[in-house]
Symmetry: C2
Subunit: 449 residues, 2 copies
């Protein structure tokens, strides 16, 4: 029977001494005239299936020219060996070559290649162990996020990506259409958030979320910025700031726990080549209460360590840079930390204005190694306050009239946040460049294939 | 305890005679000085929760100004009434108004509004029963698709949306960047397919899929075209045409069956207001073998009914129009039908060229009411054949060199298809305009909010 390698490894007892057929790619091959060993991988499992070819059972000349990367189909009897590390092996009776290499230049061999070199071949790099691990984790995490929201009773909602107004009220957007190009007959950009539209759907469905690609014409070439990335944005009616922070924490803790259980082999490998404490650190986060600090207190705490920063000008109203965010979580709290109540001048127009007249009910969740992982807020539900803020910021009121109108009919207030999927994946894998957690990354001046 | 209406309806016995708190929106209100009835909906369930207010238990003046659309929180004791249609009711002891209407102009009242009028208020229309049903089904179907692929061992893969080459080799694309705008320093468009990139990932992971927004600068204003829609694209290495057709059929049958079971109330409502045979038709499809016909035979069959068509010129090489596609499935096969082996001139460059020298190993799955729901193919794995076809069509070989290179290393061939999510939703709901199954639809000259 034709079966995936993952299926065999999950239930080796079911396949013990049975004849199986497996299709996959050669990741290693060695041996001599009497016996050969092929490590086969079909992508279903991080681990390879060991295939043994003995000259008694099969004409070894069939295998003598095989190379790493080639696609084959093998049949043979599987033996479960639970006592050994490799779980079992197949004694091959039949081998068919399904896809040869044209020449000896297949770039993925069993030697280390730098991440920079691999970034030049995004169409091949997932055939290394490192990228197999990352991309399998990416897929798992992706699914666990959908599962979390589904189980929590959320409605998945597709926010439009082509938009004629800009959620953040500023920012670098890609322009897709304008009066000249006349497809839509108005300036149309790639949306930077689905939040405004999600707020509309939270009224009526209460709990909604979007999980979709997002675009920023971000010219800074940093480790954590990409022009195209995926974002998770839940929006919940009736929720205030504290409730949405609780949801954010719960989401992270649940999905991280789930992938730690499901993707044991990938984590074992990542710890071998990278951060030895990866899982320990993640589990610690999953099992703790996340600390909370006001922006005002955060500034005070950071001010005591001015000598550590490039940007030393820290005052109420100063924008926290990545170095400050990381210092807060890495050095001061030594764990992820939530900062709340930012000055309204630093945040978008739609956030709930606190009674102090200075701050808004916003939060950022900061994590070690990255800085901001999540940004969210309670939304301003008061029509007049929101209208005033839109005018104050010089935004066109008529562009946001529909959004203002959401305040007119049965709006109990709502809260939500944005979680960058790739930043989460960086946090979970310990990989420190966003280009290495996206299959085909897009950054400024850089669009390969 | 605070609870969702869906939770109560799933386990009414757990909440019977218990005090509960529910937050939601008023969908109906009636009564007199002694007793009032509020129908409450919180989006978790299609059905409303009946709330009874008696002057003995609560000061009815609290409720006298309430209106449809307003947000409230109620507490009271729930009584399960399994014998009655409404499943149970709450005797309200406490009521808090959480979001009032500013005036009496809330557009969603208990009277019929035309779909055209509702299209002008996409930020409110989901608060009608019809759009609540459609959007809840959309969310369910979305999740079931991810679940299907996960269970089948697929790796979710994010194809890039910003691309510098165009998968279909032609077609109307949105341009995001060019040499002048200089963000990427080359012509960059919104991708029309993730397939080419998915093929790269199928090598190594074997089974991959993408499910993401797709863009077409499509100027024809039809019932089934949108400028932005979601597409499901699986790609499987080692699969040939027949195997990928089997996967397509299985996917449709599984996810449709799943939502029929999960979304009973939504279907009951859709059948009440629309197609009475909706579920019967869908179940029949799920339980049958899907018929298959070659393009050549399809042309012959259609030629016998020329008088039925606007486009009567039917010959080997003619592009099937929607009228032909629908006639095939509605009149000739009276069920969904798969057409295979199209002339290569009608299809994209990457399809496997059959031995007859004229056709490619492509398939379209046609369904009643819509026409093409799925299009897919076995891919051309032979480097020379593919190279030749790219040149023949006048496409720039250097743009596709990376794609050609996929043929060089361990490529056993792959097959895949594209399924328009919204077309599937139209098929499943019986809704006949794509604008009514997308929260905020984008079409030519039409981008509201």
């Amino acid at each position: 029977m034709s079966v995936s390698i993952n299926e065999i490894f999950i239930h080796p007892e079911l396949y013990d001494q049975k004849k199986i057929t497996v299709q996959g790619w050669i990741t290693n091959i060695r041996g001599n005239l009497k016996i050969m060993f092929i490590e086969l991988n079909d992508g279903s499992s991080f681990k390879n299936l060991q295939c043994v070819l003995k000259s008694d059972n099969i004409d070894l000349s069939k295998a003598e020219n095989l190379a790493i990367g080639e696609a084959i189909e093998i049949s043979g009897v599987f033996s479960s060996t639970p006592e050994r590390q490799q779980n079992g092996e197949v004694l091959v009776e039949n081998l068919e070559v399904k896809g040869r290499n044209y020449n000896n230049n297949f770039p993925i061999q069993n030697q280390e290649i730098s991440l920079e070199v691999l970034r030049q071949i995004p169409h091949f790099r997932h055939r290394t162990r490192l990228f197999r691990a990352i991309m399998k984790l990416r897929s798992s995490l992706f699914y666990e996020i959908h599962k979390f929201f589904r189980r929590q009773g959320f409605v998945n909602f597709s926010a439009p990506i082509l938009t004629s107004n800009d959620g953040e009220g500023a920012g670098e957007t890609f322009i897709v259409d304008d009066e000249q190009k006349d497809f839509f007959n108005k300036k149309t950009t790639l949306g930077v958030t689905g939040q405004l539209h999600a707020e509309a759907y939270a009224l009526g469905f209460k709990k909604v979320y979007t999980f979709a690609p997002t675009f920023r014409a971000e010219r800074s070439n940093t480790r954590k910025h990409a022009a195209e990335f995926w974002m998770i944005e839940p929006e919940v009616a009736f929720f205030d700031l504290e409730e949405i922070i609780e949801l954010a924490t719960k989401l992270l803790q649940k999905v991280i726990k789930a992938v730690i259980i499901r993707n044991k082999d990938e984590f074992t490998f990542l710890e071998k080549v990278g951060d030895k404490n990866l899982r320990r650190r993640l589990i610690q986060f999953c099992d703790s209460q996340v600390a909370q600090v006001t922006y005002e207190d955060a500034i005070k705490l950071l001010s005591e360590h001015k000598d550590q920063f490039e940007e030393k000008n820290l005052f109420f109203g100063a924008d926290l840079k990545t170095e400050h965010e990381r210092f807060l979580s890495e050095q001061i709290f030594r764990a992820p930390v939530v900062v709340i109540n930012y000055p309204k001048s630093l945040k978008a127009f739609y956030m709930h204005q606190n009674d102090d007249g200075q701050t808004v009910a916003a939060f950022d969740l900061l994590v070690p190694g990255i800085g901001e992982l999540i940004g969210g807020s309670q939304r301003e539900v008061r029509y007049e306050k929101l209208h005033e803020r839109i005018s104050e910021l010089g935004m066109k009121v008529e562009d946001f009239q529909w959004y203002l109108d959401l305040r007119k009919f049965g709006n109990p207030g709502s809260s939500g946040f944005g979680l960058g999927f790739e930043r989460l994946l960086m946090f979970v894998t310990g990989i420190d460049n966003i280009r290495d957690v996206i299959p085909f990354p897009r950054t400024n001046k850089n669009i390969l294939m």
